[in-house]
């Protein structure tokens, strides 16, 4: 079974609500289990919030486009934005083994995405960041 869907959000934090409504339908339609649902939703929230916060620094009228596909038990989602170039694959991970005293609060978003997805790829094309994430949902 394959199914493609597109969702377009404005670069405002409130738009996450539309993403959540969309995901609810998508998860139901494809009957994903709790673990996969959480992994996908959490990753998309982190990616979306980062784009709004850092990619556009509060500029609200930009568009972020999500392409969804579920094929042979692999959910593939690509996220396109025209914020400043940013490749999350090249970032060093956070210090998650430091003692509490010295541990920084924050810096977990990208790590959560990388840890929960089975595959990530990034390209900059036509002045856009295109991040593609894949999750094996069998």
């Amino acid at each position: 079974m394959s199914a493609k869907k597109i969702l377009t959000l404005k670069s405002r934090f409130e738009e996450i609500k539309k993403l959540n409504r969309f995901l609810k339908e998508f998860f139901k339609y494809h009957s994903l289990d709790t673990r996969n649902k959480l992994a996908i939703q959490l990753s998309l929230e982190e990616i979306f919030n980062n784009i709004v916060m850092y990619g556009y620094q509060g500029e609200k009228q930009h568009e972020i486009v999500f392409h969804f596909e579920n094929k042979n038990n692999v959910v593939t989602i690509s996220i396109e934005d025209d914020g400043i170039s940013f490749n999350p694959l090249t970032r060093a991970g956070p210090e998650i083994t430091t003692p509490l005293q010295d541990r920084q609060v924050g810096g977990l978003g990208i790590h959560l995405v990388r840890s929960q997805m089975d595959h990530l790829s990034y390209q900059r094309k036509n002045n856009k960041n295109i991040l593609t994430i894949k999750k094996n949902v069998k």
Partner: protein
């Protein structure tokens, strides 16, 4: 997100249910800090009904843990759903925050 509190001996049990994300986590932070400011330094978070948590919520828990460590208090988590436990593991929270299976086990640790 719903928050409810219950005092068990010297321990304040804070139950957090539903979704903790960018829009709800500020309220969680305020609630927690108001308890700490009133002198509650023994906090047990019962997360049995927590369905979802993203980085702003994880930040609140880490900040609370740091604050309580500074004050020589104690913070423990219990009753996490499997998929939430997974998220905490990924973030390395197990290293800095004791996590127990049940509320009973966790309460014993404060004794």
């Amino acid at each position: 997100m719903q928050i409810s509190e219950e005092k068990v001996g010297s321990v304040l049990v804070i139950s957090v249910s539903g979704r903790v994300e960018m829009f709800t986590s500020p309220r969680l932070k305020e609630t927690i800090l108001s308890h700490i400011n009133k002198g509650e330094y023994h906090l047990l978070f019962d997360l049995s009904e927590l369905d979802y948590i993203s980085s702003p919520g994880l930040g609140v828990l880490l900040y609370t843990a740091k604050t309580l460590q500074d004050k020589k208090g104690k913070m423990i988590l219990c009753s996490l759903k499997a998929h939430i436990h997974e998220v905490f593991k990924i973030c390395g929270f197990e290293k800095v925050l004791p996590i127990y299976k049940t509320r009973e086990e966790a309460l014993k640790v404060f004794k």
